[in-house]
């Protein structure tokens, strides 16, 4: 039974890889790295692929759910994956958003405080948290698109102050909640973990909104050459503003997931340094820090790769604390691969006109 599962998984993986390669999708590279890592685990990590089917519940309804290491990877990668979706668009217009971690904390704090201290209905709590994320995004968008402050500087403000705002909301307490609906967001399963489904949903929705309309195209144009785009009539400012607002929204969703997952709002630690992981996922996914072409699915694959790397090390009993080192090497490798100068060393010699 297990062997069959593994074979099916690998067949799917190979088809997936072949497909992305044929269509020259950038997601091929992070997926290939992910596949190599999983292949390594297939041979060298006991029990890695062991999946169990258990009885679980989805908002009170009994449903089957899967347990196992791969499922853990999907579960833990979702937060960074959701952040990476918003971050991809921000980086595509040539920006960066350092405040996503702090915005996560604000959203989590809003949800928990409203629910526990004011007894607001779960739906209203979630709406309020998302609204907080949108507001944070508008603030960033205002600073970058209207005031013209360099993105790294502009979002630094909220990065520093945001966590304070979150603590203000929770009054410095760690607010524990057990509303079944609110705790389900981060813990429920529908065969696979709900956060993962949420990430997929966000990915598909974002993909449809950017690729189904001309938004994605115009974002890429602005990121590649802002002057030329605005001379062609593209409203670059509005696009930049919208993209930051959307990134704030994604941060809020990621914040809800994490808060719900640990069943408490800890304003000090929710989303701490996750902005760096999100940026890393985007860069691994092939979107350049200078802006232009962006790859949503590839960024999510990058997030999965980072998590798989960490989980593999847990599974291999490598002290979890060493995990940052391979992360560092991955970033450096990706940077070097994208560097014009390094490329020229390899390709330039052959002389492409």
């Amino acid at each position: 039974m297990r062997i069959v599962g593994i074979i099916i998984f690998w067949l799917a993986m190979v088809v997936f890889l072949y497909g992305t390669r044929r269509s020259r999708n950038v997601a091929f590279w992070p997926l290939l790295a992910l596949a190599c890592l999983l292949l390594f685990n297939l041979f060298f990590t006991q029990q890695f692929y062991r999946l169990e089917l258990r009885e679980g519940s989805f908002f009170g309804i009994p449903v089957p759910q899967l347990y196992g290491v791969p499922i853990d990877i999907l579960n833990h990668a979702s937060k960074v994956g959701i952040l990476a979706i918003g971050m991809t668009l921000v980086i595509a217009v040539g920006g960066i958003d350092l405040s996503v971690g702090a915005v996560m904390a604000i959203a989590g704090a809003m949800m928990a405080t409203l629910s526990v201290q004011l007894g607001v209905s779960p739906a209203a709590c979630i709406a309020a948290a998302l609204a907080a994320g949108l507001a944070a995004g508008m603030w960033n968008g205002f600073l970058v698109a209207v005031m013209g402050i360099p993105p790294m500087v502009a979002t630094l403000i909220l990065m520093v102050a945001g966590r304070g705002v979150a603590q203000l909301v929770t009054d410095g307490q760690i607010i524990i909640f057990n509303n079944p609906i609110l705790t389900s967001i981060g813990n429920a399963f529908l065969l696979v973990p709900v956060p993962f489904l949420l990430m997929l949903l966000m990915l598909i929705a974002t993909w449809i909104t950017t690729r189904g309309t001309a938004l994605g195209f115009l974002i890429e144009a602005v990121g590649d050459n802002e002057v030329a785009s605005s001379r062609a009539g593209v409203s670059a400012r509005t696009l930049k503003f919208l993209v930051y607002v959307f990134c704030g929204f994604c941060s809020a969703v990621a914040g809800l997931v994490q808060t719900s997952n640990i069943r408490s709002a800890d304003a000090n630690n929710i989303g701490l340094t996750l902005e760096l992981d999100a940026i890393m996922a985007v860069v691994i996914g092939g979107t350049a820090m200078t802006g232009g072409r962006f790859y949503l699915a590839s960024s999510v694959a990058g997030a999965l790769l980072i998590q798989a790397l960490t989980t593999t090390m847990y599974a291999k009993d490598v002290s979890p604390v060493v995990a940052p080192v391979p992360k560092a090497l991955v970033i450096l490798a990706v940077c070097l691969l994208q560097s014009e100068r390094v490329r020229r060393l390899f390709i330039g010699r052959r002389g492409t006109a």
């Binding site: 402050i149 500087v153 502009a154 403000i157 520093v160 102050a161 203000l168 080192v325 992360k327 390094v342």
Partner: protein, 322 residues
């Protein structure tokens, strides 16, 4: 009045106001002891921020400093436990920090990589290697720490029975501030750093060795962060590889509040000192007040950042306008 000193003047005003507010609300706030402690307790942030100031003036950023501090503390703690003399251990640590920074600078300048990503990698790398050395908090037990360092404190005044001393950590901070100021204002290296940050293309055309200066800037930042790590061991007397997560942002905030332009070309080490003191004063105000909460500090610091960035933006537009 020269408008380019405007950010520096605002910084000084804010610091003055904060201290005055402290003095008004709390009895002992404006005492010599509190003031000296302000220096001593924030010495490691200050020393780190000196290096960070140079990096930012050159138009870059260094995210690795907090991890480097943590690495240094655990490195010293471990080697001292293994029988090395603290001085020797610190010398090694400083050399490592210098080398580490230089390697980051080399990647940035010779492959033209974004400093943000390279130092992000450096941050993970230093944090991980620190954990490899030891992943628990390790006390440093050595007579050098318990006697020599303490003995270096300079008594300055006698208040009642107690003697007020300037701790060695505060002395380190003052030393780095003076050194940094001299380096920035009175050496060719310092001028070159400003030139690169202000306009890299012009600097190259004017004959500034841009790549070499960049490597030196990051090496300097690595050195300062390591030195800050040494300073930390002086009063913590322990090493911990998981400490100081996020400190790089404090250092950056201190530099920005001190009038350093995040886009490069403008900044003062003295301003950074004031920035560090502002952050420290906010902290002590909250400690003194007791019921006031820590998060107000963050919100206040964020607002200060906004204030300074807006002022700089206005100045920039005014310059463009002519």
């Amino acid at each position: 009045m020269n408008s380019r000193y405007l950010p520096l003047i605002i910084t000084a005003l804010v610091l003055g106001l904060l201290l005055a507010a402290g003095g008004y609300f709390f009895n002992n706030f404006l005492s010599l002891r509190v003031f000296i402690n302000l220096f001593g307790d924030n010495a490691f942030v200050g020393v780190t921020a000196v290096g960070m100031t140079f990096v930012i003036i050159s138009g870059g950023i260094d995210l690795s400093v907090a991890s480097v501090i943590a690495f240094t503390t655990i490195f010293i703690a471990q080697t001292v436990q293994d029988g090395m003399h603290p001085l020797l251990s610190m010398t090694f640590a400083l050399m490592l920090g210098l080398l580490f920074g230089a390697i980051q600078g080399w990647f940035i300048s010779s492959f033209n990589l974004p400093p943000f990503l390279v130092t992000l990698a450096g941050m993970f790398f230093a944090r991980g290697t620190g954990f490899i050395i030891n992943d628990i908090s390790l006390a440093i037990k050595h007579s050098f720490y318990s006697e020599t360092i303490r003995g270096l404190a300079i008594p300055v005044a006698k208040v009642g029975r107690a003697v007020v001393r300037i701790p060695f950590t505060a002395q380190c901070l003052i030393l780095f501030i003076i050194g940094g100021t001299l380096l920035a204002a009175f050496t060719r290296f310092g001028r070159n750093v400003y030139a690169i940050g202000s306009n890299e293309i012009s600097a190259r055309l004017m004959g500034v060795p841009v790549d070499r200066v960049k490597i030196m800037v990051y090496a300097l930042s690595g050195f300062c962060a390591t030195a800050a790590g040494c300073v930390v061991t002086f009063y913590m007397q322990s090493g911990n590889s998981s400490s100081f997560v996020g400190l790089e942002m404090d250092a950056i905030a201190a530099a920005v509040i001190g009038g350093t332009l995040l886009t490069g070309g403008v900044g003062w080490v003295a301003g950074t000192l004031m920035g560090v003191l502002i952050l420290g004063t906010i902290q002590s105000l909250i400690t003194f007040q007791g019921s006031l909460n820590n998060w107000w500090a963050k919100i206040f610091i964020g607002s200060l950042l906004f204030l300074f960035i807006s002022v700089q933006q206005l100045l920039k537009h005014r310059l463009k306008g002519r």
